[in-house]
Amino acid sequence: MTHPSFAVTRRRLLQGGLATGLSLIPGLPHVAYAAGGAAPAAVTGAETLVVVFLRGGADTLNLVAPVDDPDYRAARPPELRVAEDGPAAGVRLAQSLAPGVDFRLHPEAAPLAELYQGGTLAIIHAAGLSDGTRSHFVAQDLMERGVGGEAELSRVGTGWAARWLAENGVSGVGAMSAASNTPAALMGYGSALAVADLRSGLAPPGGAQAADVLAGLFRGADGPYASAARSALSGLSTIDGQLPRLPDGKVAPYAAEGGAVYEETEAGRGLQTVARLLKMDIGLRLAWVDVGGWDTHEHQPGRFSNAVRQLSRALAAFYADSHRDHGRVTMVVLSEFGRRLRGNKSQGTDHGHGGAMLALGGRVAGGRMLGQWPGLASHQLDRGVDLAVTTDYRAVLAELVGASVFPNWSARRLGVLA
């Protein structure tokens, strides 16, 4: 057990009379709290969490594929599934999830296969929402708010990531998204920094004079813009001040470590920004990276291969680059749903249900597939058409951020972390 030993719940701390100034206690901000309740479960989670959200519904049946399952082979033409043999054969995964099924990673996910074999990548298959929605936007909302069904959306006005950060007393630049805005998972956090790219610095335009004017303009002003502008000014200058400069004042190019090479892709750019911020020691606890391009209703073979290649390379680059932080950083990769088992006639797949989630990090009990494999025979499918969900997505996240982040919900332990 290498994780911190602060296995104590917030509730118990509060009961112990330590309510005031909780977040000021040295050492405690790195604790994740378990759910209160009958069993005093001693769950400790991620110290810093990097979430990669695959927007559009990734066809994970074509990423982590049961290649010799006759139902899988019957439902899909060869170009929509992973091959058992030949030049584009998938990479076989040693697993005990479904003995007798030959699970393979998509050939373009070879960098992920290495991480899996190295014991730092775990795959949770047939995971997702228990709610039956096939709408991107409903499903994303549910997964970002951290709830189980639409009825709860009106009662839970914040995102799960924001609630986790609040439980841990994190504020300011402790959370960021590598995009132009912050995800719904951070709704309620207030000051999450949305920065896609650090390469040209983050100082406001107009030099020191503009910075002075802007600080004066927003001092004491209210309204959503003024308060966002205030926290943007302070967050941007915190980070800008730490960016190494060349003699001419320009931001020095980023030197990745561990032989990492980031490509010019959405995933590559985003994860490079996250890696750079992690190393600045600004107290980053949560980073969010959106990766689009997974809504493959049409022409899936080429598009999906590209998307998998870009994602796999970016994850591998980030993992190599952040090698000094493997003990504290955990990544989770998820999508709002998987796709239909059967292909359509556009060489694509329509919205489905269950999918695979990935967890990656030095503390992840990797090299394993977790969850429960429901099978792909007609009677085993959700509504007769889609991979069933046997592991609620919150079961995976709860092991990283604590179950108390998810209202009215509890689950048995999966064992994502060692």
């Binding site: 927007r55 709610d131 039956g132 929605t133 096939r134 709408s135 991107h136 936007f137 409903v138 069904g149 639409e150 998204s177 995009a179 132009s180 805005n181 709704m187 920094l193 949305a194 920065v195 896609a196 790219d197 983050l202 406001p204 335009p205 107009g206 004079q209 503009a210 002075d212 004017v213 802007l214 600080a215 004066g216 303009l217 927003f218 001092r219 004491g220 002003a221 309204g223 959503p224 813009y225 003024a226 966002a228 926290s231 943007a232 967050g235 941007l236 689009g292 391009g293 809504d295 209703h297 049409e298 292909g343 359509n344 006639k345 556009s346 060489q347 694509g348 329509d350 919205h351 509504r383």
Partner: protein, 521 residues
């Protein structure tokens, strides 16, 4: 009606008031102003047309396989071209450099900026922006880029103030949407569900009417057996997808044997791709073997007539024209106008008029953060700059989080404040304003002589810009923050036309626009 009301009305019904417009609206009165704005005549927008004609965009690329190097300034010639002329750009086998294939998106983006600033038919421009987001397509895809000028002109602009049912059919039959949501490749047997799903969820009934988590079978949906279901479930999506099979684009696709479709980008209905058997959509039975396209048209009518569609669309319109969470009373009243006029050719016009003349609209205070397009256009309008769109400005706007016609998900850009307040996005807002004020991208020099005919003190200039940009009396705290930050003596004299005077006066304009009062509408 006072000037404050007319300023507030104009910030929401236009891309922001130009000097003197608030006063003019106060004299005209809102009902007459709306009558005029809601009956736009294209021939009567000469200044805007001159700006469109004068605009030139740079295109530059090196020689490649099948083409020679190009570097030139081009007019917005695609705007009037039929889709047939542009469709070859979508063919990956034809020798076109990447910038050629993307050029139509640049042209439509430039035209959108120019119209937002110069068109006298401002309310139509606001609604065109609304509908482009409602019926979003992503021109990052080559075939969508080729179809974009026609989509903007023949679909969105033509129907922006018209009838929603007709609008739906124009969108559903457009090359841009058929490509973007893949219906062109949908075939009987295993239909592509992409368009059908978004037709229900985004274009029509809305996600509040998606009842899939509650009901597994169509007959369980309340009202379904009487033909009036409260909402839709996946079974409706599957059936609607079957109804639209055969709605396609002349894109050269094979028809079997030696036959192929021509490659023009125009709509085509391919009978042999259509699933002709019986269907059930929203509780209604469709008999097998209907006349060509009738299945799809009937789905569009069911969607257009559904009460959930009226509420969904009216809530969105009110969210655009008032606030993120508009009052329910207004949404319901607008939905009633929507429903009563659903067979009228000017249905949308009537609904917009009802919203704009409502008590809720009159009582409303500015609460919406301007999106980057609105920020740019309102600054150019308030400062009366002789504005043109340039590659540089479009590049900066693309990085602001609002890359026009380049939003990947079919939702279009979000219309809520929180989506526009990320730290990097806010920094981009400041860059846009400073760049416009200082003419970084050659969009047009800011004429400081317009608001200030002669030398002014720094204090008077800061106050003057606030009157021009905020449409309100100067706020001493804003004046002070700017003058202190700039280390300017309030009594210092700034001379318009002089180099140093102009530099300071332009900076002042940008800073005044960065203040909260200019950022909301």
């Amino acid at each position: 009606m006072d000037d404050s009301f007319s300023t507030r009305a104009l910030t929401r019904l236009t891309f922001g008031p130009k000097p003197g417009e608030a006063e003019a609206l106060r004299r005209t009165g809102l009902p007459r102003w709306l009558d005029e704005q809601l009956s736009p005549a294209d021939g009567q927008d000469e200044a805007c047309q001159r700006s469109l004609d004068a605009c030139r965009l740079r295109i530059k690329y090196g020689a490649g396989d099948g083409w020679t190097a190009v570097e030139e300034m081009r007019p917005l010639a695609s705007l009037t071209k039929p889709i047939d002329d542009l469709w070859p750009l979508s063919d990956g086998k034809k020798p076109f450099a990447g910038p050629e294939r993307q050029f139509p998106r640049l042209e439509v983006t430039a035209a959108t900026l120019i119209r937002a600033v110069h068109s006298r038919w401002q309310l139509r421009e606001v609604l065109v922006d609304f509908w482009h987001n409602h019926f979003n397509v992503n021109a990052g895809e080559q075939a969508v880029a080729a179809a974009l000028p026609s989509y903007d002109r023949d679909v969105i602009r033509r129907h922006a103030l018209g009838n929603f049912r007709e609008f739906l059919e124009a969108v559903g039959g457009s090359g841009a949407m058929l490509v973007y949501l893949n219906n062109r490749s949908s075939r009987a047997g295993s239909a592509n569900e992409n368009y059908a799903r978004e037709l229900f969820e985004l274009h029509g009934l809305g996600r509040d009417a998606y009842l899939n988590a509650l009901y597994n079978k169509w007959r369980e949906v309340p009202g379904a057996q009487a033909g009036n279901p409260a909402g839709y479930i996946d079974q409706d999506v599957y059936e609607a997808a079957r109804a639209f099979t055969g709605w396609a684009v002349e894109d050269g696709a094979g028809l079997g044997g030696e036959q192929r479709l021509p490659a023009t980008g125009r709509f085509v209905y391919v009978e042999s791709w259509h699933d002709n058997y019986q269907k059930r959509v929203l509780g209604r039975e469709f008999d097998p073997f209907q006349a060509p396209m009738d299945d799809g048209k009937r789905v569009l009518s069911l969607v257009a007539d559904h009460p959930a569609t009226a509420l969904h669309l009216c809530r969105k319109l009110c969210a655009r024209l008032l606030s993120d969470d508009p009052p329910d009373s207004l949404v319901k009243a607008a939905a009633q106008v929507w429903t009563e006029n659903r067979r009228k050719p000017d249905q949308i016009r009537r609904v917009v008029r009802a919203i704009a003349l409502s008590r809720e609209f009159a009582d409303h205070q500015a609460s919406k953060v301007k999106r980057p397009l609105e920020l740019v256009a309102s600054f150019a309008r308030a400062t009366a700059v002789d504005f043109t769109a340039t590659n540089g400005l479009i590049g900066e706007l693309d990085g602001s989080g609002q890359r026009l016609f380049g939003c990947p998900p079919p939702t279009g850009y979000p219309d809520r404040n929180e989506a526009w307040l990320g730290a990097a996005a806010i920094r981009r807002r400041w860059t846009l304003l400073l760049g416009l004020a200082e003419n970084w991208w050659k969009t047009g020099p800011l004429d400081t002589g317009l608001p200030f005919p002669g030398p002014v003190t720094a204090q008077a200039a800061t106050d003057g810009w606030q009157r021009a940009l905020h449409g309100a009396a100067p706020d001493p705290a804003v004046t002070q923050a700017i003058l202190i930050g700039m280390k300017l003596d309030p009594a210092a004299t700034l001379t318009p036309g002089a180099k140093d005077g102009d530099a300071k006066l332009r900076r002042l304009a940008a800073y005044v626009a960065m203040a909260p009062r200019f950022q909301a509408r």
